[in-house]
Amino acid sequence: MPAVLRRLKRLGARGSHFGIVALFTVFAAFPFFWMVVTTFKRTPDLMNTKNNPFLFNQPPTLEHLRVLFFDTLYGRWLWNTAFVGVLVVAITLLLAVPAAYSLARLTGRGGEQLGIGIFLTYLVPPTILFIPLARVVSNLGLKDSLWSLILVYPSFTVPFCTWLLMGFFKAIPRDLEEAAMIDGYSRFGAFVKVVIPLSIAGILTVVIFSLTLVMQEFVYGMTFISFASQYTVSVGVPTFLVRGDVYFWGSLMAACFIASVPIAILYNFFVDRFIAGFTVGAVKG
């Protein structure tokens, strides 16, 4: 009898574990699943409350995708986002890589404090800075220009990326650089020729992380830019496609899904390193 009971108990535990995981997965992923379903449904099908929304009551259609790419500025917004993203990543690397190395190796004990100080500026949110920055941007003549975003976005990528890279550089054994310096490299030369090639994984993490932050940014984009053709995708879709009383749900959902999922899959490969940066070595426990 006890053997049967134990087996029952184990089955129950497994069942409840499965149930919990399944419930959370559905909660997290359902909106994206729903975006896909909506994308391929005909509008009359979507707009009939008698229909079972989980079924295709009329044959699927690509009409919403056609509208999205040919009758709206969606393609342009994707391009704008990529343009801003690439330049912001470049600026971030140029500023954060040397700074992080300096904090990890060259500034000694004070470097740690300075590093934490830089990291804390990451906590100053756009919702405090956007009002003065709106004025600064318009005084610089950058209002309604993508360059305003390229100028401002590194303010939230640089602090975190510097912090993240600092951890990476610290993990590289000092001996390697010293050996390179004995071979005749300068300190800086050792950094370029030895440390950077060894930190490609860290640099890649920073690239992905910066790209996701650029894609997500909303407050600055909405504040600085009011020309529809200059929006990034995260601002263009909610402000320009959702306007007036007519919602083109099919196209909207397609727009959201296409811009969300590829970057999420990419990000998934780097998430562990990213979390290690967040938890400041509190993990050491």
Binding site: F24, P31, L106, A134, V242, W249
Partner: protein, 318 residues
């Protein structure tokens, strides 16, 4: 003539040699190289975070509007005026409700989910990918997905609840149009968005607990709850604090979910400080008042930074 040319060339190379000498000296001196390499980042941060922050402080003490060319110093007048408006008080209250309820939910649910994900099972990588989606996808776009699912007529939730029989044929809840429902919806979407981050942070903490400890506890006959409260939670406490800290900061200063779902409505029952600052400062053009409102976000950041520093220091000592 040729001689003169020769000497200029010579002095030229000498200067060049001296220059490279100084350059290599800098490149080899740790202190100078260190300063040189960190200077651009510091300069950028000072110009684009430090300076605007001071500007926000300055604006909040002035009467600047979006079109004005002059501004005069009015002291704490903006703050005094803002605090007294019912709209501000309501927004402050909403911000606190929004933050505390959503963070409490995120913490509890994140803990449950992290414990569930600690086990190995088939397809775990796919589950993890799906669970991370809400955090990684641009939040404004994910929220539009919810806008559609919470639509007043075509909401899929209404359909499901009606199909299951919980709703009668005449029940049509307007998720985003009734005060309490709207706040509930906004909180739910925010929990959806923040759960992945908290879960992954907590998971990192949980998997760093040495196995011996769990085994020892099992040998001593500790049950699930006892195990949870006397071993697991105390050991991941620093990490839990970090998760809560970031969650609090991101939630307290966030306006995206609310902007997309309700624009602060109905009747400002979901208006929070960040969205109020946006509507006042940018849409309404009153930069001074907007800046004053947004600065009420700052004390929370200071508190968060303080706790964060303490944890960082403790992690360093051990």
């Amino acid at each position: 003539m040729t001689q003169k040319a020769m000497t200029t060339v010579e002095t030229g190379t000498q200067v060049a040699r001296a220059k490279t000498g100084r350059l290599t000296a800098i490149l080899d001196s740790e202190i100078w190289l260190g300063r040189l390499m960190i200077a651009p980042a510091i300069l950028y941060i000072v110009l684009l975070i430090g300076f605007p922050f001071l500007l926000a402080l300055y604006y909040s003490l002035s009467d600047i509007t979006i079109g004005s060319r002059t501004m005069s110093f009015v002291g704490l007048k903006q703050f005094k005026a803002v605090i007294q408006t019912p709209l501000f008080q309501q927004s402050l209250k909403n911000t606190l409700i929004f933050t505390f309820i959503s963070q409490a939910l995120v913490l509890v649910l994140g803990k449950v989910l992290a414990l569930a994900l600690l086990k190995n099972f088939r397809g775990k990588w796919l589950v993890r990918l799906l669970i991370l989606l809400p955090w990684v996808a641009p939040i404004s776009l994910g929220t539009i997905g919810w806008l559609w699912m919470l639509d007043s007529i075509y909401s899929v939730f209404n359909w499901i609840l009606r199909a299951v029989g919980i709703f009668g044929p005449t029940t049509w809840p307007i998720w985003l149009g009734v005060p309490h429902l709207a706040m509930g919806s906004v909180i739910a979407v925010h929990v959806w968005r923040q759960l992945p981050l908290a879960t992954v942070i907590l998971l990192g903490g949980l998997s760093s607990i040495p196995h011996d400890l769990h085994d020892a506890a099992a040998v001593d006959g500790a049950g699930f709850w006892r195990h949870l409260f006397q071993i697991t939670i105390p050991l991941v406490l620093p990490i839990m604090i970090v998760a809560v800290l970031f969650g609090m900061v991101f939630t307290f200063t966030d306006m995206i979910v609310i902007f997309v779902l309700t624009r602060g409505g109905p009747y400002d029952t979901t208006q929070v400080l960040a969205s109020l600052a946006f509507f006042t400062g940018i849409m309404g053009g009153d930069l001074a008042e907007g800046a004053a409102i947004s600065l009420f976000l700052f004390p929370v950041l200071v508190a968060a930074a303080f706790v964060f520093l303490r944890i960082a220091r403790r992690a360093e000592v051990t």
